[in-house]
Structure formats: structure tokens, C-alpha cells
Symmetry: C2
């Protein structure tokens, strides 16, 4: 399989500069190992998704791009594509299930996108229908080399800020984030390990890596976790990256995720959504399964409803 | 008066590099003006104080420094001096009132400092007694050129990241933070304005600037605000900087501060202590009094008790 290269990622870094925030490493002296948090929650759309979406939209031929971009997502990818489309001054259609919380629909509309509400299960077909009708371009959430390369810019920044990093932890769902990060880290610092973290209740990637082939879990099963950004499954492309580049995976419980959200707020002064807190949960509760050393936990996003946040901080 | 210079601040930037986090500007598209937050809450000690304390400790003659440093503070300066002392491998004595919350005492001890508990009102005399006994060096919280220069590194970073900044807002209490920032901003971008923000209930600096001389408010009056980091008064040195360099001041109410803490958590994914949220409160509630344009609000710190944070997020 043709993996994303360091050159792809370096090109993405040039494109996203000035649009994605250059997030710092935030020291976490409250952990029992040298730990830094990489807070992607500080991105303009509240998650790392801006990096991949922006790089993908930037890479579309300008004449074609002018006809617009399309995405299907109820979450962070939707806002990221809408943001990138507006930055390039082109239309965006975002297809979301009709039961998506109004707050997320409004956030996507606020970036200037046209939100198309459809029945659950009809997202992909509706998105492709718009692509055909408008001759627009689909921006996939993870199954795309430009998206993976964009997320990989996180890996470049980690090595620049902490050249002797030993371990990088990233959440895994569709796998675009960890694929990009692993491609960057393994190219720049091969002796560092890259581990994935996943909710137990959506542990399809752990099962797949254990079996050596993609294992599918039902949507109903994956939707049990509160980590609503981690309910997707890898594609062949992202699974191929993981088999080649990822050193291990740990799963975390729902209580561990909740507790990590509270710890990040109270000790690191960072608001994480549950999906973004899984890496911290792994360090705090499963450190014995992880290799030792200087560790970076990628906090992937901070988009959590106000009421849910208050409840999580009391857990 | 001999004001802190750009050279002083540039030298401080070299010293604090690798110890203070290079905080990013976080876009805040939810405001009704172009706004970025500078989150000093992400510093190792949870506040900007690390910059000034580290620069001050770094500037002490090494032989003298080896005998140790002393500070009196119940808050963020205590942790910052303790952190800096440990970085240089020298002892630190931190004098705090005996009614200081245990959580803050423990945080200071966790940085390796010896915490000396004294009666309220005896902090300064106790600190000077230790300075004499140990032949150690006092690190003042704000009335010190090295401390001011360290805080000024925030101004350097703002202009580097947003060269066409129009307005910088910083909280004011003892005045070290705004003095340093204003010295940097006015040297690098004279056409930008620097405004101070203060709680109405501790509005001694607003009163002083209006009168053109230092006005003293009672401790009891200043202690009414929930912004517990903003209960000090300027010194001649910091007031001199403000008269020369600061363009204006606005005061904010307690409700406005509470509401800004909630907005920062829910919209910017940042945990601010009340003192750190006053600049955002000024933008959200007193924008009509401020000059227009590209605005940076300095979020000075994030050290807030867990229970207090939960209460603030529900306000």
C-alpha cells in the first residue's frame, strides 16, 4: 500500500499554516510519567479536523473547487469542511442526519455552509447526489490521502517541540488522525512509538489489529460510547497505515473517559470532548500497558455541549 | 521614570524559552469583533506568572541564587517562584497566610518549595526575615524590572503572531503584566492600543489613572471581587509604566466575569480563573467603550477550584 509520505505532510503543513493553530505542548506534571498534552481543541473549529479538511480543499484544482465541496458528517468534520470552504470562498454542502443536535447544525451553518438534513442511513447517498448535481467535490472524513497528510502535521509539530519524544498517543476511529501522525513520527523519529487509544465500547480497531484484518462492529454497538467522535471504523487505507506504522493500542472504559475530561479541565485548564480525552485516560489508567518515556497525548477536540460538560466535571 | 525596554524583554524571552509555553492565539469567532485569546492558563503553573518569576530568578547572580529565593503570595506567583527555583535547583521559601486554601499550599509544595504559614498581615515581614536569615533573594510579584520584562514576553509573541494587532487587553492588579505587555507592544507597534481591565469591585487602578496619581483602596474593599488574582494595587514602578504606556481602562462587574468564564469554557474550550476572564468580559460587555479592530484578550490564568469552576459554568 502507498502510504502517505513525509513530503505529503510537509506540503500540508505549508498549506494549513495561518489557518490551523500551531498548538503548543502543554506540560502535565500531574501524571506519573513525563507527559505533554497537544490541545487540538484550540483549533478554530474546536478540533484537529481543520488540518485535514483544509489540506484537502486546498489541494482541489481551483476551477473544480469553485463549484463547491460536499461532506457528510454530524460532527467535527462538518465544521472543518465548512470553515475551509469559506476560507477559499467556495460553496459547501454538509449532509447531516435529521436527528443531529441543533447546536451542531447551527455551528456548521455559522461557517456559511448549506446544511442538508436527511434520514439517518441516507447520508452517503445524499452526499453523492449533490456531488453529481453540482459537479462538486466530496471531502471524505478520513479515507483520503490529503486528509491524512493534513492530520499528520500534528506529528511534525510534536517532533519539532519535543525532539526526544518516546511515545505519541492518538485517538482512533476512522483512523485518519493516527495514520497521519504515525507517518510523520516514524519518518522523523523512528525510535518513538505511536499508540492508538479507543473506547472499549467502540473497540473495532483493537479487534481488527488483533486479528490482522478489518473487523466490522455494528453501528448500534459503536454508538454505545459517549465518545461520539470515535464511532467510525477504519478504511482499508487507514487500516493499512495502522498495520504498518502503529505500535499498539489500548482501550479505555466510559468511566475512565469521564474522569479524564474532569482531570484535563481541573489540572490542565483544557476543555476536552470525551473523544479528545481518551489518550489522557490511557495514560492515567493504563500506563502499565504503555511503553515508558516522554509521552505526548493528543487531545483531539473540545466540542462538548455545555450541560454535558458540567455533568462530566462532576464525575 | 526608567521604563522597561524592548531589549530587557527580548533578553527575558531568551531566558524563558523552553520553560514558559509559547502560547498560541486562539481565534474567538463568537465575538462581535475580530478577537483572539492568548491562553496563559496553559503555562506549567497555570498562569503567566512563570514568565516574570523565571526571568527574575534567572537574573540573580548564580552564587547568590544558590542560597535560595523567597516570595510572599498565596496565589499564582507562589507557584511560579517555586517552579523557577526548582528549575535552577535552588531552595525556595514561600510565605503564605495561614488561611490559604490547602489546595494552593499543596500545589506550591508540589513544586518543591518550603511553605511558611503566617498570620494574615505578617507576610511581608516574615518574608524579609527569611531573606535576612538565609541571605536569600526576594522575588517580588510585580514591583521589579525583571518580573515586568518577563511578563512583557507575552507582548512579543502577540506581535509576532498578529503583526497588525490593533488592541491588546490585559488584566491589571499589581500591574506587572500590563506594564510588560505595554512596553513590548508600544515598542514594536506604536499604533496599537493597550487597555487594562479591572473588576469594578477592585477598581483602584481605574481610580488612580483617572486622578493621575496612585489611589489606595482598602484590602477589605479589594477583596470583594471573585477575581482573587486582581486584589493587589500598583506600585510606583508599575503605575509609572501605565501612565506612560496604557491607553485606557475598563472595569467589569462580577456577573460579567462569571459569564465570561462560562463563555471561554463553552466556546473557546479554555478553563479560565475569574481573574483571567476579565478581558473577555470587557470585549463581550463593554465593546462600545473599546477602540475597534483586531483585538487580543490576554487570559492570564486558569487556576480555579474544581467546585468553583462547576458553579461558574452554570452561571
Amino acid at each position: 500500500m502507498n502510504l502517505v509520505t513525509l513530503d505529503d505532510i510537509a506540503a500540508a503543513a505549508e498549506r494549513v499554516a495561518g489557518h490551523a493553530v500551531r498548538t503548543p505542548l502543554v506540560a502535565a506534571p500531574w501524571a506519573d510519567r513525563p507527559l505533554w498534552i497537544k490541545p487540538e481543541s484550540l483549533q478554530p473549529v474546536g478540533s484537529f479536523k481543520i488540518r485535514g479538511a483544509f489540506n484537502a480543499v486546498a489541494g482541489i484544482d481551483p476551477q473544480r473547487r469553485a463549484r463547491g465541496v460536499v461532506a457528510y458528517s454530524s460532527g467535527n468534520h462538518a465544521q472543518a469542511v465548512a470553515y475551509a470552504a469559506r476560507a477559499f470562498g467556495v460553496p459547501a454542502w454538509i449532509v447531516v442526519p435529521e436527528d443531529t443536535p441543533r447546536v451542531k447544525v447551527e455551528a456548521t451553518r455559522a461557517h456559511g455552509a448549506e446544511v442538508v438534513l436527511v434520514k439517518t442511513g441516507e447520508r452517503e447517498s445524499a452526499a453523492y447526489a449533490i456531488v453529481e448535481r453540482e459537479d462538486a467535490t466530496l471531502v471524505p472524513p478520513f479515507d483520503d490521502r490529503a486528509v491524512i497528510a493534513g492530520q499528520g502535521t500534528i506529528g511534525l509539530e510534536i517532533v519539532a517541540d519535543l525532539p526526544d519524544v518516546d511515545l505519541v498517543l492518538a485517538p482512533v476511529s476512522g483512523g485518519g488522525l493516527i495514520s497521519g501522525i504515525a507517518a510523520a513520527i516514524k519518518a522523523l523519529r523512528p525510535q518513538a512509538q505511536v499508540w492508538a487509544v479507543e473506547p472499549e465500547l467502540a473497540g473495532d480497531t483493537a479487534a481488527s489489529l488483533a486479528k490482522g484484518e478489518l473487523v466490522s462492529w455494528s453501528v448500534a454497538d459503536r454508538n454505545r460510547t459517549i465518545a461520539d467522535g470515535l464511532r467510525s471504523q477504519p478504511s482499508e487505507l487507514t487500516f493499512g497505515h495502522q498495520r504498518a506504522l502503529v505500535d499498539g493500542i489500548v482501550t479505555v472504559s466510559e468511566d475512565e473517559i469521564r474522569s479524564a475530561v474532569a482531570t484535563l479541565a481541573h489540572r490542565a485548564h483544557l476543555v476536552a470532548e470525551p473523544s479528545g480525552a481518551v489518550t489522557t485516560a490511557a495514560v492515567l489508567h493504563h500506563g502499565d500497558k504503555l511503553p515508558p518515556g516522554r509521552t505526548v497525548a493528543v487531545l483531539s477536540g473540545g466540542n462538548v455541549d455545555p450541560d454535558a460538560l458540567v455533568a462530566l466535571l462532576q464525575s
